[in-house]
């Protein structure tokens, strides 16, 4: 049996492979676990106790759309004022506002305005009127390849392209005769992975809250990847942050309904609310902000804070 020594090493190889695969899985799981823990830890030990010696902590809870931005602010602010630690957690705008009402949040992040009913509840609970701060804007641009002759699209058409039961699948349905370089008439949808803020915001404003995206879109892992993929694929359409445009893509004008003139997305049209796929991002405090919170909010609205807004793919405040 000359072959038998080899069978032995074969078994070893497989064991090694198995171990490698499972270690990869473990690393993935651990990585995810740790990340979440740091984000969610404040929920447990909020105001009372557990904070390390003398370090004042600010509880910042709310919108998932804003969680990356809030995290980026909190990390940077640790360098600005080391005496204060900002504890960020997500859950959604509603969760943040509920935390405001329950007095467990010092700042609530919300990607929508406080509803009158919620304001009443907050007043009843805290005895103060919540203060509202606009800290930036969320806006998504619609990108097509630079060779695409189309230059304007309506929200309905976008919805028909991306919605699960939407009927628009061909460029010719939109009146686009031929795209130079495109190998077929099919609209190639470029989207994001299903838990990104952009995905959720696009679903909310374009596809419809109660609807889902059509399967089969290319789901990219980052805002930049969407634009790059559209730039490399003549028949593609995609949505991404405003700041990601490259020479290979074209930003479409967007109109609310078909026939209306389209609006070019820009910092100006986001600010005056004429561009339909944009919204302000809010932070709420229970009453007038306390000294430490005020200092933090002032820093967020300063140039340094607003630079982070731009860097994380959102639209900064008007200067």
């Amino acid at each position: 049996m000359q072959i038998s020594p080899f069978t032995f090493s074969f078994g070893q190889g497989l064991a090694r492979l198995g171990a490698f695969l499972s270690l990869t899985l473990l690393a993935l799981a651990l990585g995810a676990g740790c990340k979440k823990k740091t984000e969610q830890s404040p929920e447990g030990g909020s105001a009372n106790g557990s904070a390390p010696a003398r370090k004042q902590s600010i509880q910042n809870i709310g919108s998932d759309t804003m969680v990356n931005l809030a995290q980026a602010w909190a990390e940077e602010y640790a360098n600005v004022d080391p005496a204060i630690s900002i504890e960020v957690s997500g859950g959604g705008s509603g969760v943040g506002i509920a935390a405001l009402i329950n007095k467990t949040a010092d700042i609530a992040n919300a990607s929508r305005k406080l509803e009158p009913e919620e304001e009443q509840k907050a007043k009843a609970s805290t005895g103060q009127t919540p203060s509202e701060f606009v800290v930036g804007f969320d806006g998504l641009a619609v990108y097509v390849n630079k060779s695409n002759p189309l230059d304007s699209i309506s929200l309905e058409e976008l919805s028909d392209i991306y919605r699960e039961d939407g009927k628009l699948t061909k460029w010719s349905d939109l009146g686009v005769k031929a795209i130079p370089g495109a190998r077929s008439d099919d609209i190639i949808r470029v989207s994001r992975q299903n838990n990104s803020g952009s995905y959720q915001y696009f679903r909310e404003t374009v596809v419809g809250k109660k609807n889902d995206f059509k399967s089969g879109s290319l789901d990219m892992n980052g805002s930049k990847d969407v634009v790059e993929q559209v730039g490399k694929t003549p028949g593609a359409i995609g949505y991404s942050g405003l700041g990601y445009a490259t020479p290979d893509v074209k930003i479409l004008k967007v109109s609310k309904t078909k026939g209306q003139p389209g609006v070019v997305p820009s910092i100006a049209t986001v600010h005056d609310k004429s561009y339909p796929i944009s919204r302000p991002l809010f932070m709420y405090t229970p009453g007038a902000p306390t000294a430490a919170v005020k200092k933090y909010l002032d820093w967020i609205m300063s140039d340094a804070g607003q630079k982070i807004v731009e860097k994380t793919g959102y639209v900064p405040l008007p200067k």
Partner: protein, 319 residues
């Protein structure tokens, strides 16, 4: 392993202490050191088993709650609708992801097996010594390229190339991922395949040549049958690599939930889904647990591949 057990102090009978048959007696420390070392090595061996079971246990623990409480298995295995974050109608169908994984792996093997085994045969049998050393270094270099780099090549080089050469609308597709996986698994196949061929004793070759067989006849009729277990191992390790690979396929296959109708359709694999979504799924949520169930599924698939491989090898070894 046949050493007598270390005698316990106090109970040692006199006859043993005096009856040292040949050579000087080993000191107590040396005997103790020997057995300690033996146990350390034994522990190293057992630890691989512990790790595999430990990892399986942890992955299972995270997913098992939802696996037996809430997950519709029929939908999980037979539906192509993957909407884990839908607001109106959450669906966890992974059929498209399973088909995606197998289509990319299958095509990759169709490309890699002839190339990998061919290269192994060339390096082992037909190559001059000088060439062999150079080739082996280059092939090992190919194995050392990180998978993110492969993914990057897939996006930036292969993506436009595939569109151009095959006149297809999307360059991120099954073929792109399969080509990358083929390139990644070829080095494994070559080095293990070459070892397998080298393990065939030279007397086989000499006998065959002495009988008047040409070199190719020797390879086909003598070496391949003699080394078939090792070559099979080489192929299966390549399959394992391809099924478990994450980053490159995440970037190169287009990441679209889609049952492919041709090699030019984008797909999404099981591994890529875990990588893209686990980071932002909140711990303990159904989405998070379903991703771990996908992990269990992957574990089961690789286990099945290994088991089948083992059985096949054992079966052919007998004959």
């Amino acid at each position: 392993m046949n050493l007598p057990p270390a005698p316990v102090a106090g109970t040692r009978p006199l006859s043993v202490s005096t009856g040292s048959p040949r050579g000087p007696r080993r000191s107590r420390a040396a005997v103790l050191g020997e057995s300690v070392l033996e146990w350390v090595i034994r522990l190293c061996g057992i630890s691989a088993i512990l790790f595999v079971f430990g990892i399986f246990f942890f992955v299972l623990r995270e997913g098992v709650g939802f696996l037996f409480g809430g997950l519709k298995l029929g939908e999980f295995f037979f539906s192509t609708e993957w909407y884990p974050t839908s607001l109106s109608n959450v669906r966890y169908g992974v059929l498209a992801l399973i088909v995606g994984t197998f289509s990319v792996t299958g095509l990759a093997m169709l490309i890699a097996v002839p190339f990998g085994l061919g290269a192994a045969i060339f390096v082992s049998e037909f190559c001059s010594d000088r060439w062999r050393e150079g080739l082996k270094i280059l092939i090992e270099l190919l194995a050392a390229i990180p998978s993110v780099v492969w993914g990057f090549i897939g996006i930036s080089v292969m993506n436009p190339l595939i569109q151009e050469v095959f006149h297809v609308p999307v360059g991120l597709n099954v073929l792109n991922g399969a080509l990358l996986l083929a390139l990644m698994s070829v080095p494994i196949m070559v080095s293990i395949g070459e070892d397998a061929l080298k393990a065939v004793p030279d007397s086989f070759r000499e006998a065959s040549l002495a009988m008047g067989a040409t070199r190719w006849q020797t390879v086909r009729r003598v070496l391949l049958p003699a080394a078939k277990n090792g070559l099979l191992a080489a192929i299966l390790l390549g399959v394992g690599r391809a099924v478990g690979e994450t980053m490159a396929v995440l970037m190169a296959t287009g990441h679209a939930v889609n049952i492919p109708k041709s090699p030019f359709d984008p797909v999404r694999t099981l591994t890529a889904t875990i990588a893209a979504e686990l980071g932002e799924a909140s711990v303990g949520s159904p989405h998070y647990q379903v991703l771990f169930i996908i992990g269990i599924l992957l574990f089961t698939i690789t286990f099945a591949v290994n088991l089948v491989a083992d059985l096949v090898v054992k079966g052919t070894a007998k004959g």
